[in-house]
């Protein structure tokens, strides 16, 4: 009975998992065929004439590769800013009592509710008026607005799991709060820093709305917009689009696979008690 139960569990996971993986398999399957084969009838589930044409198209297009560089610059900058500010704030929120602490926390929770489209209006007007339209700085500032609140909460939840006795011991040894933060709190926070970093990077890498509103040239635009623009084009080269989509997804999947141990620990530190 128990054995049969187990077999059916494995079977259900495999079947359900396979169905849910179909879109990704389909993306890869399209990426490895020529464009006329995309909609050929009858539909080819596995490309009959597999080819790297689509990848050649992408690699031959200098401006598409530029989009990758832009995405890395913006996402890494946002990640660095968020980790710095969020780890300091996380320490402050868990270790000290001060006036306005609750107010600050309520405000952070509220900002998580701001519709991005609401912020996009004043950002657009501000960024154009100070001449920052179509710059990395514009994107980095805008992305920080929605990544920072979540980063602060994640870091706070993580630092709360570090025993307070550790910093009390440091205080007795004569360490001030800043020294305590850098020497005592930061080292064991590494998993939390990685989790927050990965999460911020994913959010920033995948953002779309602000990039549409605040940029208009390939010199600055991130990858998401590049893919979005290809969707809108009249004669869509679906195979190239899927090849580019595949290439855009690989960095995130690799980051996740390498760091997932920390990531899972950090993401669920606060919400599961």
């Amino acid at each position: 009975m128990r054995r049969r139960n187990q077999v059916s569990t494995y079977l259900t996971i495999v079947v359900l998992g396979s169905i849910l993986m179909v879109p990704i398999a389909w993306m890869i399957s399209i990426a490895f065929r020529s464009n006329p084969d995309v909609f050929s009838m009858p539909l080819q589930l596995i490309p009959e004439h597999p080819t790297l044409d689509a990848f050649r198209t992408v690699f031959g297009n200098k401006s598409l590769l530029r989009l990758f560089v832009n995405s890395y610059i913006v996402a890494l900058s946002v990640t660095a800013i968020c980790i710095l500010f969020a780890s300091l704030a996380g320490y402050g929120f868990t270790r000290f009592k001060f006036k306005g602490k609750n107010g600050a926390l309520i405000y952070i929770l509220l900002t998580q509710m701001f519709p991005m489209v609401l912020l996009s209006i004043p950002y657009f007007l501000f960024i154009t008026s100070v001449g920052l339209y179509n710059t990395y700085i514009a994107l980095i500032l805008a992305y920080t607005s929605f990544s920072l609140p979540f980063s602060i909460m994640m870091m706070r939840d993580f630092i709360a799991t570090i025993p307070k006795e550790m910093d009390e011991a440091a205080t007795i040894d004569g360490c001030g709060p800043f020294k305590t933060f850098f020497l005592i709190i930061l080292p064991p926070s590494l998993p939390g820093l990685i989790a927050t970093g990965v999460y911020t990077f994913i959010l920033a890498w995948n953002e779309f709305l602000f990039a549409v509103v605040l940029t208009n040239s390939v010199n600055v635009r991130p990858l998401t917009i590049g893919i979005g623009m290809l969707i809108g084009e009249f004669a869509t080269e679906w195979n190239a689009l899927m090849a580019l989509s595949f290439m855009a997804s690989v960095p995130l999947i690799l980051v996740f696979l390498f760091l997932q141990k920390y990531f899972l620990q950090g993401l669920t530190a606060g919400s599961v008690k």
Partner: protein
């Protein structure tokens, strides 16, 4: 008398010192939180203030906006397109959250069964992929799958549903929302699965063993152990997903642009169109403020629960 005088003088002095010390203390303690809070206020507080202000102005003449009182709000309340966007947003959010919760919980329960740990780790990672994929990639892939000559129709035709297999899912008014929601559920189930799985792992095995001895079937255990034990995480995740779906923009914008005939126009795309296509910033701002108010009032319960948890934890 003299004694009392010096005493009170001492008292005054010391309280003065402690006040300045208190101020110093506040700055040291708050200095860790301050940079992040100032940045956040500049990036969200001030812009919010601007949007509130703009919502009371008429932008017909872009160079010289004029004060217009509450006329933007009045116009919105009387705009059938606004109410259309509102009800579409509700359908999009509720359908996505309910289906996502069911799918996420099902997968989490399956992966929490006593199975091979490597097998579990592999499937858990694989099933996270949709969450790691950007919305533009998801939109592109699903446009392809849902196209008249796409994979879904191929499947429907091959199981004998010939006429249903001719549907242009994203360009028909009656099916476009279904298509967008389908892609959205696919995007959002992994996060829910992950959170539920983490929650399930904290439930003690003894509870299940005791129930099994008492002869409780699967549905019984689900109803009387799993769901009550997961209650707080279920509510948190449901609330977060509500918020994220309510303000969602990318998938709708990329897959249908709000069409056909506004059938998939949600609040975010509605506001975007007014702000950046029609350049009517006043009207768009007012709509955005209404949207924010709805979101905040709908999540008051969540906010209160978070604050209570806050008070207990720290």
């Amino acid at each position: 008398m003299k004694q009392a005088h010096t005493n009170s003088e001492n008292h005054l002095k010391s309280s003065g010192r402690s006040r300045s010390q208190g101020l110093m203390d506040f700055f040291i303690k708050a200095s860790f939180v301050m940079p992040a809070m100032i940045l956040l206020l500049l990036l969200t507080g001030y812009p919010l203030f601007q949007v509130i202000q703009m919502s009371f102005f008429d932008y017909t003449d872009k160079a010289k906006p004029v004060f217009a009182g509450a006329s933007n709000y009045e116009a919105i309340i009387n705009d059938p397109l606004f109410w259309n966007a509102m009800s579409n947003t509700a359908v999009f959010t509720i359908a996505s959250v309910i289906c996502g919760l069911v799918l996420g919980l099902t997968l989490a329960i399956l992966l929490n069964q006593p199975i091979n740990t490597r097998f579990r780790a592999i499937y858990r990672s694989l099933l996270m992929f949709p969450w790691l994929t950007s919305s533009t990639v998801i939109a592109a892939t699903w446009i392809l799958i849902l196209s008249p000559f796409g994979l879904l129709n191929w499947f429907l035709r091959s199981i004998g549903l010939e006429s249903l297999g001719q549907t242009a899912w994203l360009s028909e008014e009656s099916t476009a929302m279904f298509g967008v929601v389908l892609a959205n559920i696919w995007r959002s189930f992994p996060f829910m699965m992950l959170m539920f799985l983490a929650g399930l792992q904290t439930i003690s095995k003894e509870l299940y063993e005791a129930a099994e001895i008492d002869g409780a079937g699967f549905m019984h255990r689900l109803r009387y152990i799993t769901i009550p034990q997961l209650k707080s995480i279920l509510l948190t995740v449901a609330m977060l997903e509500m918020i994220w779906n309510f303000r969602s923009f990318d998938l709708v914008f990329l897959m249908t642009g709000g069409g056909p005939m506004n059938a998939t126009e949600v609040m975010s795309t509605f506001i975007y169109h007014f702000a950046f296509r029609k350049l009517n910033f006043g009207y768009a701002s007012a709509a955005a403020i209404i949207m924010l108010l709805i979101m905040i009032s709908a999540s008051i319960l969540y906010l209160r629960a978070s604050l209570r948890k806050e008070a207990n934890d720290h």
